[in-house]
Amino acid sequence: MRNCLHYVLPCCLLLAGAQATAQNAADEFYDPAAMAAARESVRHMHGDSLNSLIIGERLENQVHDGDSALVWEAQGWIGYDLNKLWLKTEGHYNNESNDTEEFELQALWSHAISPFWDFQVGWRHDFQDIQQDYAVIGLMGLAPYWFEMDAAAFISEDGDASARLEAEYELRFTQRLILQPRMELNYAFSEDLETGIGKGMHKAHLGLRLRYEFKREIAPYLGVAWENSYGDTASMLRVAGQDSSETSVVIGLRLWY
């Protein structure tokens, strides 16, 4: 009994304290239940809004030596200021061979850890020929000098670790004409023969896209993309009769809602 009081008493005091400090003066004039509902609604209205974004960063056709491919990179998030569900997908569909060479989807919990950075953790699935699941951990945000960064590490279900770093920059020629240099580096900590990936830096993408924002949400673009494979990955590609390096002309659309 004494123990019970020991806990209950401070709780009562705390509650009383909370009562005394809350903004409930209007309860004296209006139905306290209606006031409580209004109070909660107003609290929620000012700062607790649920927001979302869907953005197709790159929805494009890449043309290279007569070959063409559809390439996409899209993201979406839904959530609050600090916590969001973040989806990312990218892929590469070869129009000639009707082959989905790459198709990955990531579902991440994204948590704001500082003014400019989100910590992200979650799951990735590859849908191409060799299906694989990965655990993902990453950091996404805005680096000094306005570099949009996305750095992620992946561990496949087989235990192979890899990492990817993406960086983008925007150079405004006018308020609507924007040049976007983009870089992506892929690194494997171990060789994965199944997927044809060698150890070390195995693939780099560089891109330069010039878009025109008819509306902020709708921007067609033209550009060039260069892709290069390195080391064992390049060798494996060459063995398979493919180029280890290719430069494409791209035409695409950037959309968001």
Binding site: T21, A26, R43, M45
Partner: protein, 673 residues
């Protein structure tokens, strides 16, 4: 106490009144005086029906809110001392409310859902009953959701019980607002997705090369690097711009050109009300000087000017006296210079004066970051050779470019004196580091003004302060620092600003050296070749009702993260706040506000006036405001008499900032009972 100057000015004013006003009390003739505002309601017992209607705004079909079928809402004209009974019928499909902006009334009649009352549910009614204890120009608007953005606002004139000390022959309400054809929820959502969505005045490659031409490659590059380093932009002037807004005067777009008539020689009173959701206007009438006679409903000692800034929710009454058969444009340029509202003053319809072109977009400076005295500094000229940077920690900080860990810095070996003293004659002898305790601070930067440094008040061991200087030392140029800047520093001792509030993802910047900027012209008007009203020009015409020294001081910081579009006070959004700010009933207190953001914020307290502290120790004629614009990088104070028991809203009057969380509840209560 009235000094002689006041007395003279007042007697001039009253002299003009007594002859005219005795014959023509303004309220009696208002119907004739106020043109283009049909449906004025003057009874003490009125009814307002809130509805959503489809009609044309700026010539385009729009869904908007009307009160009694009107947009903007009807002009309400009452008399001081009236006992009011106002029935509000909610014809919307959602709850609504009416807040009487600037009125001193019982809090349960203030009209803020969740604080003063539950709001008015869809299809329901509510009757406001309160006595009118004041006179002047006011306005009313919804405090529910985004209704204010879609037309739920109207003007109020309260005629004084005593003869009006302001003499005028004719009056017009000039109600400024911003209209978007987008759904305001969508506007807010877009800001959350891409905060710079509406900014079409961003810096371009071309501007860089123009700057290289005018300032040289080093300066242009250094400037880009500095801002880039902070991930902030010096053109972050307004979140929602003319890219989506059409700016209105009394519901008229510039093309629709609202017309106010006058007869030559008349004293015309223009009652400016900024009823916009997100816009701050700079107002001028080229060719016609203005005399400001009132702000926020309270008379001020008349002050002549050619241009004034009106923050969202502020009101300014001015007298103009056009003497000839002329035509004038009332030009209301937004502070980002991307749009404008305009109207015409003329002797007859069909006349139109030239509309001035928009002036160039201004840019923010280091001072707007709360780093006063650091504009254009170049540390190249300083001797850093003996400074011990070896233990500086450049590692972890997010927000800041150069977080310097001073825990091991040897100040004794710093030698700034020769290089600076020779050019700037700064006396370092006043520097007192004795009380500095950098021991436990997370990250601390180097204060640049060494002339009057007062570190005595610093105590970083308790605070979790992250006061840093996001600056590359290569860019600082003491040699080019204007002497006027030095002067202002001398009068404003540089005490490092403490930030005893949560930071984290919602706080992008903390002002290191915020300064009082009440005497400064608003951004972009620093160098215009005519008179510009500043807050220190305002002086209450009536003696202040409460002349006590404040018994205590509360400090509140305006905080934000523009990238994430988060806005808050003290780093905490309204949705996260557990308790109101408590004022002891009857107390006189000082509220000091520090603007850590890069934007001006019109801050509004319900139910009580801000007595703006212009000169410390002066307690008799402080200008009294219900809304005051706090400039970026500013620290300023207002005194408040907590004489209105109950719960009141306190918020930034930029609608989307409030919506994002820049709001608090203030609870005035007798804590002893």
């Amino acid at each position: 106490m009235l000094n002689r100057r006041h007395f003279l000015e007042k007697s001039l004013l009253f002299g003009a009144v007594s002859g005219f006003q005795a014959l023509l009390p303004a309220w009696a003739q208002s119907g004739r005086f106020i043109a283009d505002l049909p449906g004025m309601l003057t009874a003490n017992n009125i009814s307002l029906t809130v509805e959503q209607t489809k009609s044309a705004i700026a010539g385009k079909s729009a869904r908007h809110i009307t009160l009694n079928g009107q947009f903007p809402a009807p002009l309400l004209r009452w008399r001081e001392g009236d006992d009011l009974s106002i029935q509000v019928i909610n014809g919307l499909r959602e709850p609504t409310s009416i807040h009487w902006h600037g009125f001193l009334l019982p809090f349960q009649m203030d009209g803020v859902p969740g604080l003063s009352y539950p709001g008015i549910p869809a299809g329901d009614k509510f009757t406001y009953r309160f006595p009118l204890k004041q006179s002047g120009t006011y306005w009313y608007h919804s405090h529910s959701g985004m209704q204010e953005q879609i037309g739920h606002y109207g003007p109020i004139i309260v005629d004084p019980a005593e003869p009006d000390p302001v003499a005028y022959d004719r009056e017009h309400v000039i109600m400024l607002s911003d209209w978007t054809f987008e759904n305001p929820e969508r506007v807010f959502a877009k800001l959350k997705k891409m905060s710079e969505n509406y900014n079409f005045q961003q810096r371009t490659v071309g501007e860089f090369f123009r700057d290289v031409e005018s300032e040289g490659i080093d300066a242009a590059m250094a400037n880009r690097l500095m801002w880039g380093d902070m991930r902030m932009t010096p053109i972050d002037l307004a979140d929602v711009t003319g890219a989506t807004y059409t700016y209105l005067v009394n519901g008229h777009s510039p093309a629709e050109n609202w017309l106010g008539l006058f007869r030559p020689g008349e004293r015309v009173r223009l009652r400016f009300i900024n009823a916009s959701a997100m816009s701050i206007f700079n107002v001028r009438i080229p060719g016609l000087p203005m005399t400001v006679v009132q702000s926020d409903g309270l008379n001020v000692v008349p002050v002549a000017t050619d241009e004034f800034q009106i923050g969202t929710a502020e009101t300014f009454d001015v007298i103009v006296q056009p003497n000839a058969d002329q035509v004038f444009t009332i030009m209301c340029e937004t502070n980002d210079r991307y749009g404008y509202a305009s109207a015409t003053l003329a002797t007859r319809a069909g006349m139109r004066a030239a509309v001035p072109s928009l002036r160039p977009r201004p840019t923010l400076t280091m001072k707007d970051m709360g780093m006063s005295g650091m504009e254009g500094m170049n540390m190249d000229t300083m001797n850093h050779s003996t400074m011990n940077h070896s233990t500086m920690n450049h590692g972890a900080s997010e927000a800041m470019a150069m977080p310097v860990d001073h825990s091991n810095m040897d100040h004794a070996s710093m030698n700034h004196s020769e290089s600076i003293q020779s050019t700037m004659a700064i006396d370092h002898s006043a520097m007192d580091h004795s009380a500095m305790n950098h021991g436990d601070s997370e990250a601390m930067a180097m204060p640049m003004d060494h002339s009057n440094m007062d570190h005595a008040s610093m105590n970083h061991s308790e605070s979790n302060a992250q006061v840093t200087m996001p600056m590359d030392h290569n860019e600082m140029n003491h040699a080019t620092m204007a002497m006027s800047e030095m002067d202002s520093m001398a009068t404003q001792p540089m005490a490092m600003q403490a930030h005893n509030h949560p930071q984290g993802p919602g706080v992008m910047n903390t002002a290191m050296n915020p300064v009082n900027r009440l005497h400064e012209r608003p951004l972009g008007l620093e160098n215009v070749p005519h008179r510009v009203l500043v807050y220190t020009d305002l002086e209450s015409l009536d003696p202040n009702p409460d002349t006590r020294e404040p018994g205590r001081e509360i400090e509140l910081h305006l905080t934000s993260n523009m990238e994430r579009y988060m806005w808050s006070f003290d780093g905490v959004k309204f949705s996260e706040v557990k308790e109101p700010i408590v004022f002891q009933q009857g107390e006189r207190l000082r509220l000091s506000m520090v603007n850590d953001t890069m934007m001006p914020h019109p801050v509004h307290l319900h139910g009580m006036y801000f007595d703006v502290v212009i000169r410390p120790g002066e307690h008799h004629h402080k200008p009294r405001k219900h809304t005051i614009v706090i400039k970026p990088g500013e620290k300023m104070s207002v005194d408040i008499t907590a004489d209105a028991p109950g719960d009141w809203a306190f918020h930034c009057h930029l609608l989307y900032h409030m919506h994002a969380g820049m709001m608090r509840a203030v609870s005035v209560r007798d804590q002893l009972s």
